[in-house]
């Protein structure tokens, strides 16, 4: 022995707030090494001294066996002169250069903490705020960097001596666990119910209930009441999942007509009981991120039952059947709540249902859906609540309609006061809201649907580092933003739909928070070129930066490339609802030849008018009308090229679309009184033919009153922008095949069409691919222009759907064959492009690729033909991933050549 070495070990990554220094301390002392460890602005800096073999073993362990929550990106070493200083010390944090260190996402309660939580001998027995370095809230409570207690919402709670001892003890699981606390010193849970008596309830006043808040809250659930629960990233609304009346009440109050609710089950066993799960799905369910996992149900209820009387909380409320997109029951709201609260917290009421016989999820939870969103408890409050009430509960974000989730106590009480019968809340503030993440497994691969709590702000690695700090402003719906520095792209939590003011504020305030937290001053701002996106307008208003407009579908493909650590070039298939195209039409069924720095539009779905603009998105039957009117024998003629002058007749009328389903679609129809219409032949090519072929169609008959007027909008190009959107093609087919004429949430028609598709059906519809036109001018991006661009005739699929239905095919079979037809046209388009370019890697992105059936069919088809297929891993294929793609493009463009 005798030989002695001293080495500096620098560790970059998520290594703070995750128990890294205690791990280093244990490791070093176990190996008989001396030295120091400390946090600095970049991560963890270690000096170890001793036997060179032990030093090597040490660095190896740091590299390859870090604590579970750590994410080690890089370990660098350099030799130092030996000092002979004995012992191993943890030194205070250094560095004032705020925020280069990364902050951990929020982490579900760990097994060690759970054991203590339910151990009567532990001093934190049943304490709802138990946590350690391996678990607990992080990102959502961070107020400032560096990450220490003063920079969290735990700052107001002074540690008691016992907690302080653990906090300072390197051998403790709670060494420097910033949110550490206990019943003696930490936050406190409270249960609030409306103040006053049954006869007189002053509105908006709440009173604390004495006794155990968890027991009281469980009773609210047991009695079918709506419970607002303050969670990690915001407030949830909860009801027991098996009572149709209770769930229908929640739907009515929340004004959420049809969109499925997620449930939280007390255990994995309960989840297995409700849904089929494979090991991959179970791993996701129990992962520290605890996302909502979309699982296939074992039992699919057909239609929601008519609510039965008898529940205190549901009296006076009759939800609609969920079939017409309208919210209802609001007028009864206040009275209903008042009626509900009397006996809710009577602790003597016994559980109504034995957990072992729970088999049912009420029909209204996820009406007619084959899938169910399931999550497991992830905070101590959930664990305690579901131990008291061990049944699946609906756990949905605490908001009304499309508003962002409530996260501040005062807002929650005022916004959710009319929705909830009781509040289970506490005095640990949430600094940043974060919705639950959503994920689904497709062909053994994890596809993110919403990336939020548990994932944010974990960085995504960029293939080409940003040479200057980048802010990417994202799109409009399912909005996220992204800050990038060097190789790190920090994608924000799910922000929501920007059209709401609260959401826009959450975006602008979120950008400021991220900039401060990570010490990033953006010098490059990337944005979507859509002129009406509020994120675009935000970008244009930021002064003193270099602006980079990244085409929507290029951003989709770039996000998929980044998720796969690839730079391209690839064949990029971007199928989504809509994105602003370079020719000012609305794209959405795109074949690109793309790399991170540029793209060429190499092919697309044939364009079709969207009669009434955004109205055609809320009313898929309009897309059916547009496609059917466009069907004609001489198809290439009906493929209209070039930019629309669809608004040419709007000179004196400038219309803004009432987006996002804020107005009940049925409303307008009801108010058509005063309008009478006459419908002479409008003389458009193929129109008469289309009409002749579709005269008997149910979709046409259901919408007869407005069919011809809407067809005329399309034909006359009055407020009927042209689109090549795949999402709109799915809409048209959903209206024709399964009668989904209007939607109450984004993507509903396609979701239901996927659900309807018969599982085993292998038949397919043909779709011509026609070479036409040339790559469009500035659209050629960096790639060489002048190549042939092809057009895929989505119209053929619509015609096949109509013919097949006419021949008596089942809607489920038709839906399946349509899916297979889309998959086939994608494969054929890619084969064409391979012949043209030699590329054999395909990246699939865009919201349409959340469709598991389509992804499965497309991937299988492509792999059969020898392609390598890239799909999303980290960010969603939908617009939630756009900001990462924008950042990746802006970063790549910062490199010369």
């Amino acid at each position: 022995m005798g030989a002695c070495a001293r080495v500096e070990v620098r560790v970059d990554g998520i290594v703070q707030g995750v128990g890294f220094r205690p791990f280093v301390h244990r490791l070093a002392t176990g190996l008989g090494l001396h030295g120091v460890v400390g946090n600095d602005e970049r991560g963890v800096l270690i000096e170890v001294e001793g036997n060179p073999e032990a030093v090597a073993a040490f660095t190896d362990a740091v590299r390859h066996r870090p604590p579970p929550l750590a994410s080690v990106e890089r370990v660098t070493t350099r030799p130092l002169p030996v000092t002979g200083e004995p012992g191993f010390r943890i030194v205070p944090s250094t560095g004032r250069d705020h925020g280069r260190a990364l902050i951990s996402p929020d982490v579900a309660t760990c097994d060690d903490c759970l054991r203590e939580l339910f151990d009567p001998a532990d001093r934190r027995h049943l304490y709802p705020f138990i946590n350690c370095t391996a678990c607990g809230p992080r990102f959502t409570i961070v107020t400032a960097s560096p990450y220490d207690r003063a920079g969290t919402t735990m700052a107001p709670f002074a540690m008691c001596p016992a907690c302080a001892a653990e906090y300072h003890d390197p051998s403790s699981r709670r060494f420097h666990a910033q949110p550490v606390c206990c019943p003696a010193c930490g936050p406190r849970l409270r249960l609030l119910v409306p103040a006053g008596t049954e006869d007189a309830r002053p509105p908006g006043r709440w009173a604390e209930v004495a006794g155990d808040p968890i027991a009281g809250a469980a009773n609210v659930l047991r009695r079918g009441g709506v419970l607002a629960v303050k969670g990690i990233g915001g407030y949830h609304l909860a009801v027991r999942a098996d009572l149709e009346d209770a769930v229908a009440t929640l739907r009515a109050r929340k004004r959420r007509a049809e969109r499925p609710f997620a449930v939280m089950t007390p255990t994995l066993a309960t989840a297995r009981h409700l849904c089929t799960t494979d090991p991959h799905e179970e791993r996701l369910l129990t992962a520290p991120q605890r996302p909502i996992v979309l699982l296939a149900r074992r039992h699919i209820p057909s239609t929601p039952r008519v609510p039965e009387p008898g529940l205190a909380s549901a009296q006076g409320v009759r939800a609609g059947d969920g079939g017409d997109g309208s919210a209802c029951g609001a007028e009864q709201r206040s009275g209903d709540v008042a009626a509900a609260v009397g006996p809710l917290v009577d602790a003597s009421v016994a559980p109504l249902i034995d957990p072992s016989v729970v088999t049912l999820i009420a029909p209204s939870v996820a009406p007619c859906d084959r899938m169910l969103g399931v999550m497991l408890p992830y905070s101590p409050v959930h664990h305690l609540l579901l131990r008291e009430f061990p049944q699946p509960i609906v756990l949905t974000s605490g908001n009304v309609s499309d508003e962002p989730i409530a996260y501040l106590d005062a807002d929650a009480l005022s916004l959710l006061g009319g929705l909830a019968d009781a509040f289970l809340l506490h005095d640990r503030a949430i600094r940043t809201r974060a919705d639950d993440s959503v994920v689904r497994v497709v062909r053994g691969r994890e596809v993110p649907v919403r990336r939020s709590r548990g994932h944010v702000p974990r960085p995504s690695p960029l293939v080409r580092a940003a040479r200057r700090p980048v802010l990417a402003c994202g799109a409009e719906l399912k909005h996220t933003f992204c800050l990038a520095r060097g190789r790190h792209a920090l994608v924000s939590q799910h922000i929501g739909d920007l059209e709401n003011y609260e959401t826009l504020r959450s975006f602008t305030e979120g950008v400021r928070h991220f900039e401060r937290l990570f010490g990033i001053r953006p010098e490059v701002v990337a944005h979507d070129p859509h002129p009406e996106y509020l994120s675009t307008k935000y970008a244009l208003e930021r002064g003193d930066v270099q602006l980079v407009a990244v085409q929507h579908h290029h951003a989709h493909i770039a996000s998929c490339l980044t998720d796969n650590g690839a730079a391209g070039p690839v064949i990029g298939v971007a199928f989504d609802g809509l994105g602003y195209g370079l020719d000012r039409t609305l794209w959405g069924g795109e074949f690109l030849v793309a790399d991170l720095t540029g793209f060429r539009r190499a092919g697309h779905l044939a364009t079709v008018p969207m009669p009434g603009g955004a109205a055609a998105i809320r009313q898929p039957w309009r897309m059916a009308a547009a496609y059917l009117a466009d069907l004609s024998p001489s198809v290439p003629d009906s493929v209209r090229q070039g930019p629309t002058d669809g608004a040419a007749h709007l000179a004196s009328i400038s219309g803004r679309f009432p987006d996002g389903g804020h107005r009940d679609p049925a409303d307008g129809a009801a108010q058509l009184t005063g309008l009478s219409m006459s419908f002479p032949d409008i003389g458009r090519r193929g129109h008469a033919e289309g009409n002749a072929g579709t005269a008997g169609l149910a979709v046409r008959e259901r919408n007869a009153a407005r069919w011809d007027a809407v067809t005329a909008l399309a034909a006359r190009a009055v407020n009927a922008p042209l689109t090549s959107s795949a999402g709109r093609l799915f809409d048209a087919v959903a209206a024709i095949a399964i009668g989904r004429d209007t939607v109450s949430y984004e993507g509903q028609a396609a979701v239901e069409l996927e659900r309807a598709a018969a599982p085993g059906e292998a038949g397919t519809y043909p779709c011509r691919i026609i070479g036409a036109g040339r790559a469009e001018g500035p659209g050629a991006g960096r790639a060489d222009g002048g190549e042939e661009m092809f057009v895929a005739m989505g119209h053929d699929l619509v015609r096949a759907v109509v013919d097949d239905l006419g021949a008596g095919a089942e809607p489920g079979v038709v839906a399946a064959r349509f899916h297979n037809g889309v998959a086939r046209l994608i494969v054929e388009g890619c084969v064409r492009l391979r012949e043209q370019t030699g590329l054999c890697v395909v990246a699939l992105s865009g919201g349409v690729f959340q469709n598991a059936r389509l992804v499965a069919g497309t991937t299988a088809g492509l792999e059969e033909r020898g392609f390598t297929v890239l799909t999303h891993k980290n960010v969603p294929p939908n617009d939630g991933g756009i900001s990462l793609g924008q950042a990746a493009v802006a970063a790549a463009l910062s490199h010369p050549g």
Binding site: Y501, A614, A651, S652, S654, G668, G674, V710
Partner: protein, 327 residues
Amino acid sequence: LAHGAGGKATRTLIEAVFLEAFSNPLLAPLADGAVADGLAFTTDAYVVTPLFFPGGDIGDLAVNGTVNDLAMCGARPSYLSAAFVLEEGFPVEDLRRVTASMARAARDAGVPIVTGDTKVVQRGKADGCYITTAGVGTVDPAVRLRASAARPGDAVIVSGPIGEHGVTVMLARGELDIEADLTSDTAPLAGLVACLLDSCGQGQVRCLRDPTRGGVATVLNEIAGASEAAVVLDEDAVPVRPAVRGACELLGIDPLYVACEGRMIAVVDSGAAPAALDALRAHPLGAGAAVIGRIAQDPPGLVLLRTAFGGTRIVDVLVGDPLPRIC
């Protein structure tokens, strides 16, 4: 085309070209008219397709439009001028119809047309008939209306149901074969303005705007921007006739962005609002007046719409032609 739709593109064009070339303090606020030395002065060019539509034609539109621009400055209109650009071959009887309706409108508004000009251009160089009118009026020195004068707490009033003119003209083009029980709202508002100003104390009416191109949404955005305050609208309070709502739903457009030619937006001190509303409703052109929202402190420069759900939608200025934003 994007530069004509009354949105942000129009404003950018105006700021980039005209404001730079003509730069002076009277032009700078880009209001409907300029006020100086007790005089209000305005001019407008009128192009509309079709020239004749239910409830009006380009003639009364050209008179009422300029009368209204004067009225929005708080002026009593005194005189108008009119200049015509006619396409060769424009039927004389159509011209007679137009001038007759101009004369009628001028008489109704009590403003004589005292000077004018006519040019005929070759066939194909114009679309039938364009009219430019200018007007002068006198302003009571006590009346000072400015878009920048709105203060938190003020009431936002509209003088009647919105969107009738724009929808009527759109349907009158006959391309859609939709017949609606609708007529343009074109009307001279000087009398209504006089009633309103009389009913309120000095300074209590902060500003008046006629929501022509770009509709109520665009005008309110201008007020919010100029006052550095928010306009918070109540969706349920905005008066829209069922036929307009139905047509807008069918066309896929939002009535808040549809032009009116005989309506005005008034921002009034909250204390004076009840009297203002009474005064407007007592006048035939203000029978459908309603308080549609309030000025608020936050967020400065934005127009928000409180929906029936209690949500707040941002009512933004359109950059150009409307395009869906949904992915």
